[in-house]
């Protein structure tokens, strides 16, 4: 809880106040969205070592869960958000067998699964249900301020959860299973079931993020909701800041997504070159993220 109060709560408070001084609320919303996604990825990668390249699959499932709830059930946004989380949760349960794989095999299989879900959603034959490739319009529930507030609430919950994972019994069990699964199992830790719970938590977070994204943007296409760059950004931000910490992914999002927008808006012609070179440099020279710079000096990074 100490981590949440010292790091998480100030971040939420800052993003709650920023719209009063900065009018591009969509940009702020994107920051909040990536803060949620980076922490969601942190919950599975940072604490179990499983890196899901197809993390966007849960995000897209959440976005479409929200859209389907609004379009077919006329659900109010709050209920649709819960159903968005539920959609991602159901997808994660279906994909649970993927956890039998590990390393690159898990990453690739997960990516393929996300693509499969995308193809199903975008299938013209399902146009009556999902609107197929023609995208959805949720103008009836479009409410940028309310959806921004909902995103902040989700962020607060996610930060509190990750802070608990860092020091709580369950989080420590996950980390033990990540570092040495055999020893952890011999010590009585239910490694497999713990991993599955972390997987479901991570999917739920992405689903809620997808739902609030659908609510905020209101018009989108399958390729927007299942855009692979969403996964890549969340992974890069988490790795850059430092996984298994609360502050690492936050730093990653603020610095890298800030830089992304700065370069993207001011010198877009050099964007891919600068951003690509930066990522390569970081992976080569700072593979464990910014947090490792402090941890090497014995600092306990929250």
């Amino acid at each position: 809880m100490r981590d949440f109060l010292s790091v998480g709560l100030p971040v939420v408070a800052i993003f709650a106040l920023l719209p009063l001084v900065y009018a591009n609320q969509l940009l702020l919303f994107n920051f909040v969205l990536f803060l949620i996604l980076a922490q969601g990825l942190n919950a599975i990668y940072g604490f179990t070592g499983y890196l899901p390249f197809g993390y966007v699959g849960f995000f897209g499932a959440g976005a479409y869960g929200f859209a389907l709830a609004v379009m077919h059930l006329a659900a109010p946004p709050a209920l649709a958000l819960l159903l968005a989380g539920l959609a991602a949760l159901v997808l994660a349960m279906i994909l649970t067998p993927l956890l039998r794989l590990s390393g690159a095999y898990f990453a690739i299989a997960n990516l393929a699964a996300a693509q499969a879900v995308y193809q199903v959603i975008a299938n013209p034959a399902l146009q009556d249900i999902t609107k197929g490739p023609y995208g959805v319009s949720l103008a009836s529930v479009f409410a940028p301020r309310a959806s921004y507030g909902a995103a902040l609430l989700i962020l607060a919950g996610v930060l509190a959860l990750v802070a608990w994972l860092r020091h709580g019994r369950f989080g420590l069990a996950l980390q033990a299973g990540r570092d040495d699964p055999v020893s952890a199992a011999m010590a009585g830790i239910p490694v497999v079931s713990s991993r599955i719970i972390a997987w479901l938590i991570s999917a739920l977070i992405a689903g809620l993020a997808g739902g609030v994204f659908a609510w905020h943007i209101s018009v989108f296409y399958p390729e927007t909701a299942f855009d692979l760059s969403t996964s890549i950004f969340a992974i890069v931000f988490t790795l850059f800041g430092g996984a298994a910490t609360l502050s690492g992914p936050i730093a990653g999002v603020i610095l890298l997504y800030g830089l992304y927008n700065l370069i993207g808006i001011s010198v877009p012609q050099y964007f891919q070159l600068i951003y690509g070179a930066l990522i390569v440099g970081l992976v080569l020279f700072l593979p464990r993220g910014l947090a490792s710079l402090l941890q090497r000096r014995g600092v306990d990074v929250p």
Partner: protein, 418 residues
């Protein structure tokens, strides 16, 4: 008297302050140094091929206006220079959404122009509406953007997707059927632009009494780049006429694969040869286009504009500005020019730069503005319905001639052409 003497210094200060405030107010009504036009373009990614010609042509129009002292702005009764602020969204809808917000909230542009194509336009529509900002939509033709409860959008340079194929289905049900093309295969890319056209065509061909039968009907992802198997599948249904509706890349791949496959159909219609003719000729060749039907845009018509340049004048100016090896001149470059013309006429007619006045001015142009693409005409919901898209057929030399409707026809359609 004594009281007046006591208060007059205070009155004097008050008068000066009030005068200063009023003078400040007067300055606020003075003409701005420039009129800011906010725009998005895709410098890379799948939509760059349709977005960059629009951007380059709009930029050219702005430069031409500024070379003459700017655009005439009725609200200030004089010419004012234009400033085009255009961001690169890299074909990413998320980035396009953020940048649309950036243009409205940070750059505080006077006029907002969205990117090309329906996917990138879609994200700007609700944002513009939320900020009560009128959206100048160059080519985003998705029917879902236009509704009577959204007064903040107008489609400028392309007919809305539901109206666009009107001449095509009329042609299929009349001349083509009369010439023996009664079995039609419909292959389309599943995106807003071509998907909506396919729906309209399908509905028209299935109307009671239609002489045409659809024997193949399939949507494929817009990313499809190999049509070989699809062409064989189509051939197996024995159609007379094949309609392939896709973006530039789809049409190029389809026509190349068709040549390689050796399959022959009595008639083939594809969407882009008449729209981006130069690109198709370079990639498919005149032999690959011989006999192919397509839409005829301003490129193949000789419409006399009442405002702006003719197609040939624009082509010369575009090629002079961007030279060989740059973005190809085609329909989208024309769309960029039309966007500029509508903006110019809007500024020349709007009583102020407020968004409701800009909207009134744009809708006031409906039916009156005749550009190189025909008559600018808006439906109540902002959809473009005035421009012509006749049907043409390519000859062996790569030239397209109008074959339908009869009032514009310069040649007779040939079914069974090589």
């Amino acid at each position: 008297m004594a009281a007046w003497q006591k208060w007059w210094p205070g009155l004097a200060v008050f008068t000066v302050v009030v005068a200063g405030v009023l003078a400040g107010g007067a300055r606020a009504d003075e003409a701005p140094a420039d009129i800011k036009i906010g725009h998005l373009h895709a410098g890379s990614g799948p939509y760059a091929s349709i977005s960059m010609p629009v951007y380059d042509s709009l930029k050219l129009w702005v430069e031409q206006q500024n070379a003459n002292g700017g655009a005439f702005v009725k609200a200030y009764g004089k010419k004012i220079p234009l400033k085009l602020i255009s961001y690169d969204d890299q074909s990413n809808p998320g980035t396009a959404a953020t940048l649309t917000n950036q243009l409205i909230t940070q750059d505080k542009v006077d006029l907002l122009v969205c990117d090309s194509g329906s996917v990138l336009t879609a994200v700007s529509v609700p944002i513009a509406r939320e900020h009560k900002m009128f959206l100048f939509d160059p080519t985003g033709t998705g029917a879902a953007f236009f509704s009577k409860d959204n007064p903040y959008i107008a489609l400028l340079a392309d007919p809305v997707s539901t109206v666009w194929p009107r001449y095509l289905w009329e042609f299929l049900k009349s001349d083509a059927a009369r010439l023996g093309a009664k079995r039609v295969a419909l292959l389309y890319s599943t995106n807003d632009f071509t998907g909506t056209q396919a729906n309209s065509i399908r509905a028209a061909l299935k109307e009671p009494g239609s002489p045409v039968e659809i024997v193949f009907d399939q949507g494929v992802p817009t990313s499809t780049s190999n049509y070989s198997v699809l062409i064989d599948n189509i051939a197996a249904t024995n159609p007379d006429m094949v309609l392939e509706l896709g973006y530039v890349g789809n049409d190029i791949a389809f026509l190349r694969n068709l040549q390689e496959s050796g399959q022959k159909f009595k008639g083939v219609f594809t969407l882009y040869p008449g729209i981006e003719t130069n690109v198709l000729l370079k990639n498919v060749g005149a032999s690959g286009l011989a006999g192919v039907f397509s839409y005829v845009t301003a490129l193949g018509l000789t419409l006399k504009p009442e405002i702006g340049m003719t197609v040939e004048e624009l082509r010369a100016a575009f090629e002079k500005a961007y030279g060989e090896g740059g973005v190809e001149f085609g329909w989208n470059a024309i769309a960029g020019h039309v966007t500029g013309l509508v903006i110019g006429e809007t500024l020349a007619h709007a009583d102020s730069l407020s968004q409701p006045d800009l909207r009134r001015a744009v809708f006031g142009l409906s039916g009156k503005l005749k550009t190189l693409v025909g008559t600018f005409e808006l439906r109540d919901d902002g959809a473009q319905i005035g421009e012509l898209t006749p049907i043409g057929q390519f000859d062996a030399a790569g030239k397209i001639a109008v074959v339908y409707p009869p009032e514009f026809a310069t040649a007779k359609p040939v079914i069974g052409a090589p």
